[in-house]
């Protein structure tokens, strides 16, 4: 049976394509982002970034900056207002274990680009100019930013990060099985450090409301996290801090944690008792989280037919000196493939940078890249077709937790993806396919991500004009949350979508977590559905209590909500409009707030994952070393699809970022000075329009019971495995096996 939301048993809005309800606001420029909200008497803050990666500030000279007309104040560690003493107070809702970075806290420099001063002025240009006049002297120490050089100090993180499963205990004997295996492959892999680079730079506008109260517009993937952070750091009550962020100009994980511009803007606003905005520059977007530098080794032992006999996946990840950032890198290998001898390890090494941050499919992008290139190597080593090899090692259960999958349509993804792509026409021999003077390569890979749900609440209000407003505090980070929640609410109450408004990104709304981990559709979707069902029940009670009610003696489970009316199922002539029921009930509105969380009973029995099969065509001009990705087919199994239009866009976006990861994106650290050198969009290359050609998305729907909506989430799965499929296609085209990504020109030209 297919999961439906509607009381009629047939969904009208859920499962069909709808344009974004926030589309008109975004295409007309009326959608406002955090750094765009106006406030009377607004002052502008500009951050001065530190010039060394490690050491101390010995002197900081601000007089010249302060003398510039229009400058209001220059904040440094020497004059900053008092904030919370214990570093515990700076830990936000998704912080990894450790002591969070505190801007302007003292004279210690922890990493390159660390904020060392905030110049606040009457206008932006004056603040920017004055910031250039702040002079800082340092006692510099030699930074260590090379993860390889720190490998001897690697450690198991003593405190595990909430929500991040550490590697499972080994099973079987991976070492002995590897030694005994007829086919052995053991290689190192690396994916370059990447920066999220959302198009909207981080910004916070803090509106001084008087009497110590503030309204904050913050670039964040969930305003409740910023509110909690501000309250704890500045010793404020939550009702003194309202945080809003109706639109987010790209997150990809870097908007999960409150960043330093928020701290600085709130600090300045409270000190000056005045509204303050702080917007970071593009180069300052390289001065906090990034996808960590992870050194990996994958060792596969197999029989001559490619059946895995030993699987070992070891990872060493860089983290900062002050926090133990952790993500799931190696577990995916044992989730995707069935092997009786498995050993997985994940260790950290500290370097003198900021703490890494979750970046789209954190850990999976990195770990699955290594695994899926290794599997392609195994296919060639054993003479197997890459798809057949994966099917031969297909796992029916998550052996890391000893549970069957609640649903797993990966076989159908392989089949449908291969068919759409034309995989059967592939000549497996490297360098065998050409077109004109270009080499053609066809490669494939698998993707996997966990289907998550978080405790969330949502509210709904139906007014006597028949209009419904639903919402909560989570953010729509471009994923389409406004639209799918509108669809769900309209479905439950049988209202046209035009009569439903969704509000998000406001701490005055029901509390919900940050939008991340691909959990928002399941979490907020279920909470909205429950709140609307509560309203349905309440209005039904009013309808049934009406004099001579057509619904008298009818039970709730025998009525349907359709076209703004409650009707007896199968007998539309017996119906009452929602508006009439509310009039009879003498109410002008019906409100409900409901919360929803993961089904722990189901989770105990079943594992929940999204899967994908990605097929890629590349064309390569060998003289120039230029790789063009000409075709991608991405077949996705992610449970129920609420809105095929926005869902497809989620996958397209993941694939595009995967292409960037495979061929372009690389934050280059100069280890002698501990600094990311290419901190701008001219030198940190992300895909542009000319880099992207034909992308095809297939959704293989699954019936899953991990949550009442039957959804699994789509934000991450599109990127996972994409880079591996490209690397495998590059091998097929050229015979060159590149295990150090991105695959740039230098790696292809001999």
């Amino acid at each position: 049976m297919v999961t439906t939301i509607s009381s009629t048993g047939t969904d009208r809005y859920v499962g069909t394509a709808h344009s974004r309800v926030d589309g008109p606001a975004k295409v007309t420029g009326l959608a406002k982002y955090a750094g765009e909200f106006a406030a009377p008497d607004l002052a502008h803050g500009y951050v001065v970034s530190g010039g060394i990666a490690k050491g101390r500030i010995t002197a900081i000279e601000t007089a010249e900056a302060e003398a510039v007309p229009g400058v209001i104040k220059v904040f440094t560690h020497e004059n900053r207002p008092r904030t919370a003493w214990l570093d515990y107070n700076y830990r936000d809702a998704v912080a990894p274990p450790g002591s969070p970075f505190r801007a302007l806290y003292d004279d210690v420099i922890h990493y390159s680009g660390q904020p060392v001063a905030l110049v606040v002025a009457e206008d932006f240009e004056t603040a920017r100019h004055a910031a250039s006049l702040v002079k800082v002297a340092y006692a510099a120490e030699v930074p260590a930013t090379d993860v390889d050089a720190q490998a001897e100090f690697a450690y198991d993180p003593p405190k595990k990060r909430a929500g991040i499963k550490p590697p499972p205990q080994p099973w079987g004997d991976a070492t002995a099985a590897y030694e005994a295996a007829p086919v052995k492959l053991s290689n190192d892999y690396r994916l370059a450090v990447e920066h999220h680079n959302p198009m909207e730079p981080h910004a916070s506008t803090v509106v001084w409301d008087g009497n110590g109260r503030i309204t904050v517009y913050d670039k964040i993937q969930g305003v409740s996290n910023s509110q909690g952070y501000i309250a704890a750091v500045f010793g404020m009550k939550k009702d003194e801090v309202r945080v809003l962020n109706p639109y987010l100009g790209g997150g990809f994980g870097i908007g999960l944690r409150p960043q330093y511009q928020l701290f600085l803007a709130v600090m300045a606003a409270r000190d000056l008792e005045r509204s303050v905005r702080v917007t970071l520059t593009r180069d300052q977007m390289f001065t906090f989280g990034y996808r960590p530098d992870v050194r990996q080794r994958v060792s596969l032992g197999a029989d001559a037919a490619g059946n895995l006999q030993s699987l070992r996946h070891d990872a060493l990840s860089g983290t900062s000196r002050f926090e133990d950032y952790q993500e799931v890198v190696v577990n995916w290998s044992a989730i995707l493939y069935d092997c009786d001898n498995v050993a997985l390890s994940y260790k950290l090494a500290q370097i003198d940078t900021y703490t890494p941050a979750d970046m789209r499919a954190p850990g999976a992008v990195t770990g699955v890249l290594a695994l899926e290139i290794a599997m392609d190597k195994l296919a060639y080593a054993t003479g197997q077709d890459p798809v057949a090899l994966r099917l031969a090692n297909y796992s029916e259960r998550d052996r890391t937790e000893g549970k069957p999958f609640g649903s797993k349509a990966l076989r159908a993804c392989y089949a449908q993806g291969a068919e759409r792509f034309g995989w059967e026409r592939r000549n497996p021999k490297p360098r065998s396919m050409t077109e004109g003077r270009e080499l053609v390569g066809w490669g494939m890979a698998t993707g996997v991500w966990e289907a998550l749900m978080q405790q969330s609440s949502a509210q709904a209000t139906l007014t006597s004009d028949g209009k419904l407003v639903v919402g909560n505090s989570t953010g729509d980070i471009g994923t389409g949350t406004y639209t799918i929640l509108t669809q769900i609410a309209a479905e439950v109450l049988g209202l046209p979508m035009e009569d439903v408004t969704t509000k998000l990104g406001d701490t005055d709304l029901a509390e919900a977590p940050v939008a991340g981990g691909s959990w928002t559709a399941a979490s907020s979707g279920t909470a909205v559905m429950k709140a609307c069902r509560k309203i349905a029940a309440d209005v039904f009670a009013m309808a049934r209590a009406m004099d001579d009610s057509p619904l008298a003696n009818v039970d709730f489970d025998r009525v349907v909500f359709e076209g703004g009316r409650i009707a007896v199922a199968g007998d539309p002539s017996r119906s009452v409009s929602l508006v009439d029921a509310m009039t009879a009930g003498a109410v002008d509105k019906v409100e409900a707030t409901e919360s929803a969380g993961p089904d722990s009973g189901h989770a105990k029995e079943f594992a929940a994952y999204t899967h994908s099969a990605i097929f890629v065509e590349v064309k390569i001009d060998e003289d120039l070393g230029q790789v063009r990705v000409t075709r991608v087919v991405s077949a996705i199994a992610a449970g129920k699809i609420i809105n095929p239009k926005t869902a497809r866009s989620q996958i397209l976006g993941g694939v595009v970022m995967g292409i960037g990861s495979a061929l372009e994106e690389e934050s280059m650290l100069d280890h002698t000075i501990g600094r990311f050198m290419n901190h701008n969009l001219g030198e940190y290359h992300v895909p542009v329009n000319a880099d992207i050609q034909n992308l095809d998305v297939i959704f293989v729907e699954e019936e899953d019971k991990a949550n009442p909506m039957g959804v699994k989430g789509l934000g991450e799965i599109g990127i996972v495995g994409t880079a591996a499929a490209i690397a495998n296609a590059v091998f097929h085209a050229t015979g060159k096996r590149i295990r150090d990504l991105p695959i740039t020109v230098d790696k292809l030209i001999d």
């Binding site: 974004r20 420029g29 765009e36 932006f124 397209l652």
Partner: protein
């Protein structure tokens, strides 16, 4: 930092006149104010976005005398007398410009931050008249980064408008 200010003094302003979205504006601006900052900070036309402030991302694209430019790379004083159209000016009497409608229809954006720049750039590109094929559209639109990766939908939307001949 390299800038030597000499003796601090208030920045003197210069009088300019701009026609912005059909309205003549007489303004006093500082010489160091970019067209982008003028639009966003002074005139509350925040539809034009700042993504990099270095002409590398295209989020700030507006039409100046009908041509698409990066407004972050233009000082406002250099554009005295010019006609400026921003994303807010493409909508006429509450009716979406064909490109705006096509972007919604083709889901040619996700977070929406690059979108005003993409649409203004597309309007400028169509007026240039050079791009005819999808490949040429891709090439001509490559100055506008979309980190959400909506490129294929952006090309679909633009192609749709070009084929219908609806663009002005």
């Amino acid at each position: 930092m390299l800038i030597d200010s000499g003796s601090p003094r208030a920045m003197e302003t210069v009088g300019i006149s701009l026609t912005i979205n059909g309205e003549v504006r007489t303004l006093e601006v500082a010489p160091w104010t970019t067209l982008l900052d003028l639009l966003r900070e002074r005139l509350d036309l925040t539809g034009t976005k700042k993504g990099c402030d270095h002409g590398q991302c295209g989020a700030c694209t507006v039409l100046v005398d009908g041509k698409r430019i990066n407004s972050c790379l233009a000082l406002a004083v250099m554009k005295d007398g010019a006609t400026v159209t921003t994303i807010e000016g493409l909508t006429e009497a509450g009716t979406l410009h064909p490109l705006q409608a096509a972007f919604v229809e083709h889901d040619a954006f996700q977070c929406g931050y690059c979108t005003p720049g993409q649409i203004c750039s597309a309007a400028g590109m169509i007026a240039e008249g050079h791009a005819r094929s999808r490949d040429e559209i891709r090439e001509a639109m490559s100055g506008n980064i979309c980190r959400c990766g909506a490129y294929t939908n952006i090309v679909d939307a633009i192609e749709d408008v070009m084929q219908s001949g609806a663009a002005r």
